[in-house]
Assembly symmetry: none
Homo-oligomer: 217 residues x 2
């Protein structure tokens, strides 16, 4: 799955800040088996560049306008299940980390990390492993000790119930009847739920819900 005709690790760099890209390109190319083969400054461009270059790894900042970084990861992974995406973010909020891995990322490194950590993470993910910087690991570990906030936690009670029935296979009309709502309201909730969870497709939504244990009760 590595790029044809050359050895070393080919990299696609995605960040909406040109200066940041420059800086990291410099850092990465200091490793002589690393090659930054393309750059992109938005989700759509990232996807296009991925298709064009098939890099060994995509290093991506997901806090881009439109919060579409996750979308880009999903797109890339939907196209090629072997794709490796290492997200490289400002913050290490649990929700964001989980969302990233949920979208198919292979690693998560914060921008506060040492360059060496980023480099190590890149090598790690191209080997097929998962990687994250220490600070990320720490918040995640800590978080796993408490009740666990899932991606569904920002949903209200009504939204959860509607999602549950949706996932159970009920049609909107049936849900409307079950809950004594208008079909329109159920449609609005459905839309809202997708917006809140960041899922674009019903399929994504169903799988998220199933993973969060919302299925079969």
């Amino acid at each position: 799955m590595s790029a044809v005709g050359t050895s070393g690790i080919s990299i696609l760099l995605v960040d909406d800040h040109p200066v940041v890209r420059q800086g990291y390109r410099r850092v990465l190319e200091h490793q002589d088996d690393f090659r930054v083969v393309a750059e992109a400054d938005n989700a759509a461009g990232a996807y296009r560049a991925f298709k064009a270059h098939q890099p060994d790894v995509v290093v991506m900042d997901i806090s881009m306008p439109g919060a579409s970084g996750l979308e880009a990861i999903r797109n890339i992974r939907a196209r090629d299940a072997d794709a490796r995406v290492l997200v490289f973010s400002m913050h290490s909020e649990v929700a964001q980390v989980k969302a990233a891995f949920g979208a198919g990322a292979s690693g998560f490194v914060t921008k506060g990390s040492e360059p060496a950590e980023l480099i190590a993470a890149i090598r790690s993910v191209v080997r097929g492993e998962h990687a994250m910087s220490d600070d990320v690991a720490r918040v995640l570990a800590l978080e796993s000790l408490v009740p666990t906030k899932s991606a569904l936690d920002e949903l209200g009670e009504r939204e959860i119930e509607i999602l549950r029935q949706l996932v159970a296979g009920a049609t909107k009309e049936q849900i409307a009847e079950n809950l004594n709502l208008s079909t329109k309201t159920v449609q609005n909730y459905h839309y809202l739920i997708k917006a809140k969870t960041g899922m674009r497709t019903d399929a994504q939504l169903v799988r998220l819900a199933v993973e969060c244990g919302l299925a079969n009760l």
Copy 2:
């Protein structure tokens, strides 16, 4: 979740043949803690009766006109995840048994079984267990030893691939691009797939595909 104000087990009997209902009503009410609180002769009626009576268990023949028994089960379970449905069928074909459990049934007894088996199964499912008559268990066990025909077997190669990407979370546009098709064709396949598998909702389709191991490649 049991009916208010009374002890014993309340039952909703669903079968399109009045005589059969009569016969089984007789048999069931011979148990003095059983009460047949309602009857229905079709899927829609079953759903309505369920809503009206909230029986402890629904005993249902699924070979009704329109093959809508499964639909009825799904409706009932979507409305109340605690609902118990015991299907009571003429045949014990693997596909039908699987479809029934897939739709949310808690038990499956053939009409060839002894009354005692039906009664035992009813007690079993109200206790929250799963139950099936010996003959059903036998075909199912036997079937689990061979390659397994899934509900997806009637789908062609193209259909499978499109379903796979759909379930992976890709949008129709992305699929169209990945496979070099027009969006319209992907839409048509999506429609066809739902028709062939008998799934009415995307959610149902996704869960079917996941159960058939189509997820994650």
